[in-house]
């Protein structure tokens, strides 16, 4: 049973991994992630890369919705902006992937700031609907501009790292996973700083936050910008992973997927967005297995897709009604039980 850890300096108190057990577990996780590609087959590597991209994007949405309280249904549009930027730059300029990813993030950030402007006038639900409008506008631009290849989209060559093409899941894993990890670390750090605390204050009561001296518009735009930067980089990684970008790649449904991921995982915590993204990406695979095992031989494959849709919706509704703080809260309960054992929680 862990009673507590005595901190003797402010830095120690604010540290991300504050106990030795946490640091040991974190180290083991890193080792596990490094060893994973050598033991996993093609299919699981593919899933791992996809999960990492989703985690990065969910993290971005979490900054905006979980920590600042601004519901956004435009995450997919920002990912699309990042993906298209990367595709266009790779195809026309041939610049190295780091530059492309950064530019993708910056273009998406610009988009995010523009979309965030209505937040001066409207809030809550109306803002969410304004982000839907942004999503639609982005889709329109992607489908009709010559630059973005219209409805055919763009195919891009794989990223090159000092000569080797990152064209297999094994190789691109080493780009995507560390980058996602860095982004997560960045987000955790953000909430130890003044800016992060300002975001949380805005979420709790924005009028009070303004009274306390936090310039609302500036911080709201910053939140939009940061979250769309994350989305843009995630979108760029997506482009390098799938190597084809079309307007249909980033539908409104994808934004709903990410919102569902952070709701299911737990809004407002980094652990929540990781758990949520992992869970929501793996649920379809799990369903496939479960339906394969059930003794419904004739209808099995036919009902998979509708059941997947129903389960998706049911998860959202279920978590909102029964566990509003998501998987992270369930995890914390389990941990608390073990920390305080043999005392009751």
């Amino acid at each position: 049973m862990r009673i507590g850890a005595a901190k003797q300096s402010y830095e120690a108190d604010a540290a991300l991994f504050d106990t030795r057990t946490q640091r040991v577990w974190a180290g083991l996780l890193v080792l596990g992630l490094c060893a994973f590609p050598f033991v996993a087959d093609e299919y699981w590597l593919y899933l791992a890369c996809l999960i990492a991209i989703n985690v990065a994007s969910a993290c971005g949405l979490n900054i905006l919705t979980g920590y600042t309280g601004l519901v956004s249904l435009g995450q997919a549009a920002f990912m699309g902006l990042g993906a298209y930027t990367v595709a266009v730059m790779e195809l026309r300029l041939g610049t190295p992937f780091a530059v492309n990813l950064l530019s993708g993030g910056l273009v998406a950030m610009a988009g995010g700031v523009v979309v965030g402007l209505p937040s001066l006038r409207v809030k809550g639900l109306y803002l969410a609907i304004a982000t839907i409008a942004a999503s639609v506008l982005a889709h329109f631009l992607f489908s009709n501009l010559k630059l973005t290849g219209g409805t055919t989209g763009l195919s891009l060559p794989p990223a090159r790292f000092f000569g080797t093409a990152l064209d297999t899941s094994f190789r691109i894993y080493w780009l995507i996973v560390p980058l996602a990890g860095l982004m997560l670390l960045g987000a955790s750090n953000l909430f130890r700083t003044r800016i992060g605390r300002a975001f949380i204050a805005i979420r709790d009561r924005d009028i009070s936050a303004e009274v306390l001296g936090i310039p609302l518009l500036r911080y709201k735009l910053m939140s939009f910008g940061l979250s769309s930067f994350y989305a843009g980089v995630a979108g760029g990684l997506w482009a390098y992973f799938f190597r084809v970008v079309t307007p249909e790649s980033f539908p409104l449904l994808m934004s709903i997927f990410f919102l569902a991921a952070i709701i299911v995982g737990g809004m407002g915590t980094i652990l929540g967005c990781i758990l949520g993204a992992v869970f929501m990406t793996l649920v379809p695979e799990l369903l496939k297995l479960v339906i394969g095992w059930l003794p419904l031989t004739t209808n099995a494959t036919l009902i998979l897709s509708p059941v997947r849709t129903i389960v998706f919706g049911a998860l959202i509704v279920g978590f909102l009604i029964f566990e509003p703080h998501g998987l992270a809260e369930m995890w914390r309960r389990v941990r608390r039980y073990f920390h305080l054992w043999p005392f009751r929680t």
């Binding site: 299919y43 593919y46 899941s169 509708p306």
Partner: protein, 390 residues
């Protein structure tokens, strides 16, 4: 509707095939035909048909001893017509089996997986897509279309129009999607070359409910022929019904995916006179000697098999032929050899699936025939000869 019962049977077969594919690593002797099949989702009607067609042909091949003694094994996965599900299925099937032949469910998937096909070089792929872009042997060396591409389809329709009514006014009505937009630019130039006048081009947003605005536009242009492309069923019936009631005298035509008999007849009265280009024969066609059609009818007596079934059946047939020719030449089964073998197919008799011998020079089979719907007989009947484009 008889389709659900048939699909139950085929899905049972698919599930059994899947279950039998489970032992993680395949026997080296089998030739594997993998498939990302849209058995659910918006294209489910087509996916179920394609799946049944491939399964039946695989059964026919294996009953006759396989391909040079090696069994042909079909391993499908459902994708719901979504590109990432298709890619995931591809990775799963190729990770668990040694795959040499693959059926893809969409244009998006075909384009996404192309770099992977080029990298591995082991697989010859065809699919449900007839996209013009894929009809490019240089860019898509390991893929082919099982029929004419969409531009060629509309080209066949335009050729027929130019013959029947030179200088006619033509309208294009298409959906705002990659599927819909694909052939329009080239078809516009093609129409001009044939001396036809493109009176109006109308694009409908996907999922649009009310098309009365578009019908008014169409009526304004007063075309002699209206070509629909990019739809499976809706909103064609609405268009045709409203247009006929408003007194339009245009002939209505469609491309492959709208030409299935059961789909057209769903239009009710408005279906009468609906025309289109079909690269394959219909299930009930008894013209001439068609041993394969006879076999299909024997497998499914009195049960209509859809146009997508024919497409899947023919895909399996052509892939089998390519594999056979590769093995006959003593070459190993890889993408390059399979494609080269496919391109040696000259004046090949498909056993009646296509009504004329076919030659596969590049990536497509630019052959088709105009059919017209006869509501009284509830059948699509031929309205032209087999047309082959150069």
């Amino acid at each position: 509707m008889s389709i659900p019962r048939r699909s139950l049977l085929s899905v049972a077969l698919a599930a059994a095939a899947l279950a039998s594919g489970q032992p993680a690593f395949a026997q080296a002797e089998d030739i594997v035909l993998g498939g990302s099949i849209p058995m659910t989702g918006v294209f489910a009607f087509a996916g179920i048909g394609v799946n049944a067609g491939i399964q039946d042909y695989v059964k026919i091949v294996n009953d006759a001893g396989g391909i040079k003694g090696r069994k042909l094994r079909y391993v499908p996965e459902d994708t719901g017509y979504k590109v990432d599900a298709s890619v995931a299925a591809f990775k799963k099937i190729t990770g668990q089996n040694k795959v040499n032949l693959y059926y893809g469910d969409s244009t998006g998937f075909a384009k996404t997986i192309n770099p992977e096909l080029e990298r591995s070089g082991q697989i010859l792929m065809a699919g449900a897509s007839f996209a013009t872009e894929i009809n490019d042997p240089k860019k898509y060396p390991y893929q082919f279309l099982v029929g004419p591409d969409y531009t060629e389809m509309i080209g066949i329709l335009l050729k027929h129009i130019a013959k029947v009514k030179p200088g006619a006014k033509v309208a294009f009505v298409y959906s705002d999607s990659e599927f819909g937009r694909d052939p329009i630019d080239e078809s516009r130039t093609g129409a001009k070359k044939l001396g036809l006048n493109v009176a109006v081009e109308i694009m409908t947003p996907p999922g649009s409910v009310d098309v009365s605005g578009e019908v008014i536009k169409l009526r304004r242009a007063d075309p002699d022929f209206t070509i629909f492309h990019g739809y499976v069923l809706a909103p064609i019936p609405e268009f045709v019904i409203q247009a006929k009631k408003l007194g339009m005298k245009s002939q209505f035509m469609g491309t492959f995916w709208t030409m299935d008999n059961s789909m057209v007849m769903k239009m009710g009265e408005a279906a009468d006179g609906f025309m289109g280009v079909m690269p394959f024969r219909y299930y009930y066609d008894t013209e001439g000697k068609s041993p394969m059609l006879e076999k299909i009818r024997a497998l499914h007596p009195n049960e209509y098999q859809s146009a997508p079934y024919m497409q899947g059946f023919l895909t399996a047939m052509l892939m089998t032929e390519a594999a056979k020719r590769t093995l006959d030449a003593g070459k190993p089964l890889d993408g390059k050899n399979l494609k080269a073998a496919l391109n040696t197919i000259k004046n090949y008799d498909t056993g009646g699936i296509i009504g004329t011998p076919i030659t596969i020079k590049g990536n497509s089979i630019p052959v088709g025939r105009i059919y017209r719907a006869d509501v009284k007989q509830q059948k699509m009947l031929p309205a032209s000869d087999w047309i082959t484009l150069e």
